[in-house]
């Protein structure tokens, strides 16, 4: 009847309805939020694909990438998660697709130094590429 319709349409009923609806909050540390596959998260470097050309170092707007040595003498790839803007420009500009942004979004640390990741170019993989 009329009153029921007016009452139903009014905000009072909407609020009561919400008592049976499951809350929309995700209880973060216990429930994880799933993220689309092409999410721009933590950076991943493929040592064997990288030829040490250094384009990524020049292109990066936040100056977050450094290479120890260039070309053949490449020893390590240093990535500072603190100053990285996760824009993905390095992924785009890398000629060998040696860099990728993974969907992992929990890049946390207690201090800025811990945010700097250093990945060695292990000799074994270097010989592997050298041999083939």
């Amino acid at each position: 009847m009329g009153l029921r319709r007016i009452f139903k349409a009014s905000f009072w009923a909407e609020v009561l309805d919400h008592l049976r609806i499951k809350p929309c909050t995700i209880l973060y540390p216990f429930e994880k939020r799933e993220v689309p596959p092409d999410y721009r998260g933590k950076l991943k470097w493929y040592p064997d694909r990288c030829v040490g050309c250094g384009i990524c170092v020049r292109v990066c707007p936040g100056h977050a990438i450094e290479l120890e040595g260039r070309g053949k003498e490449l020893r390590a790839f240093i990535w500072d998660a603190g100053s990285c803007a996760y824009c993905g420009q390095c992924v785009e500009s890398c000629p060998r697709n040696a860099i990728e942004l993974t969907p992992e979004y929990e890049v946390v640390a207690m201090s800025r130094e811990e945010l700097v990741f250093r990945w060695e170019k292990t000799p074994s993989s270097a010989e592997a590429t050298a041999k083939t």
Binding site: I6, S10, C24, A85, C87, L101
Partner: protein
């Protein structure tokens, strides 16, 4: 009775309710604000100087971070400006993707503002509801661009990622949900007897900006449209994909006559529905083909000058670049929409209850950062101005009433 003196009341740069680092010096007369003098610059990051230190590609991501909420508008305007400098327009599919992400961002920005407006007037339930529904569009943006805030979807010569059919269907589903929810909020605000009137009672007739003032003071975006000024860059300039989408989807510039805070609420809610129609139209008529031109490793732009304007959620945004043949811009001028609304908001605040200053100021959806509420009262009434110490804006109203013998 002595003539009521006008008191200079600076509302300082940090403010628990206002979200913008602007300091408004209110000249109050008893109960009401008589004149307002703005002072900005508290978060000026010399972005224009920084633009000149980086090359065009790196500037893409700096332009995106000029503003947190309307980041796509800035990168869209900047890449469109670069396309005009190179005189090489982006492929149609790229333009359509830029349009879709721009409209998604407008929905997210307007819903964010709607939630904050409800919080300002103390209606937290609607704030939670509006921000819960905003998650739908945030998830879509994350799905499309890989990030919730800085989408980096537009670049020189088109878009950086494609929107395939799978994502298009998800967007359509999301749009249906959003349309239904937004229409519900409008109904609650208009028709609902108890809660609706409580919202309208706090917004109707507050902070009036007449049409003539809006034009003379250069109001932009929803603030202007809420004062009956039919100004919308998407309709006027018909830039990028709006040339086709605007007529085909049959939308028109949303204008409201009452020129007050309620008009700004209504305009923004109706614009969300308008954006939904635009997105649906763009998705249905998405041209095939490439969505971007290949990016040269080092981008050098010959000597040229270009202006590019975009309708950001808060108003018109302009990027003006002059290039000199190198890979760095010679001069890059950015005018964010909120700067255009500073003078109108000062005009708007005249004659407003002091208690309504925070809500009236939030009406233009300022996008700078936070302002302060504790005031520094300088009593200009006496012969030598005496510093009366720190007072609260309401304390002023009470104190002023005593001095002027009853509120007017």
């Amino acid at each position: 009775m002595s003539a009521p003196t006008t008191m200079e009341v600076p509302v300082g740069p940090q403010h628990p309710a206002l979200k913008e680092p602007i300091r408004l010096t209110l000249y109050i007369d008893g109960e009401y604000v008589v004149r307002v003098k703005p002072r900005i610059g508290y978060v000026h990051r010399a972005i224009e100087k920084a633009f000149e230190q980086r090359n065009y590609i790196q500037n893409l991501y700096l332009a995106e971070r000029v503003c947190g909420i309307c980041s796509h508008s800035h990168i869209f305007c900047y890449s469109q400006c670069l396309d005009r400098l190179l005189e090489k327009p982006a492929p149609p599919r790229g333009e359509y993707i830029r349009l879709i992400v721009a409209e998604l961002e407008r929905i997210h920005s307007h819903l964010l503002w709607l939630g904050v407006a409800f919080h300002e007037i103390g209606f937290d339930t609607l704030w939670y509801y509006v921000w819960r529904d905003r998650e739908v569009v945030m998830d879509l943006l994350e799905l499309v661009s890989g990030n919730r805030v800085n989408y980096a979807m537009s670049t020189v010569g088109g878009a950086r990622r494609d929107i395939d059919n799978l994502k298009a269907d998800k967007i359509r589903k999301g749009m249906n949900v959003l349309e239904e929810r937004t229409k519900y909020y409008l109904d609650v605000c208009i028709k609902d007897i108890v809660s609706g009137t409580s919202v309208r009672r706090r917004t109707e007739g507050v902070a009036i900006l007449k049409t003539r003032d809006a034009i003379e003071l250069g109001a932009v975006g929803p603030t202007a449209r809420a004062s009956n000024v039919k100004r919308d860059i998407r309709a006027d300039d018909k830039y990028s994909a709006y040339a086709e989408c605007w007529e085909r989807s049959g939308v028109d510039v949303i204008v409201w006559e009452t020129c007050d805070l309620w008009a700004r609420v209504a305009v923004r809610v109706l614009e969300v529905i308008q954006s939904i129609q635009l997105i649906r139209d763009a998705l249905d008529h998405m041209p095939s083909g490439p969505y971007r031109h290949p990016l040269p490793p080092v981008l050098r732009i010959p000597e040229n000058e270009a202006i590019s304007m975009v309708e950001a959620p808060r108003g018109e945004l302009i990027h003006h670049i002059r290039s000199d043949g190198t890979d760095r811009p010679y001069r890059h001028k950015v005018r964010s929409p909120t700067l255009g609304n500073i003078l109108p908001v000062c005009k708007m605040l005249e004659g407003v209850y002091i208690a309504d200053v925070p809500i009236a100021f939030a009406g233009i959806d300022p996008c700078i950062s936070c302002t302060d509420r504790v005031l520094h009262l300088i009593d200009v009434g006496r012969r030598e101005p005496r510093d009366l110490g720190v007072f609260n804006i309401f304390e002023l109203r009470h104190w002023a009433r005593k001095r002027c013998g009853g509120s007017r």
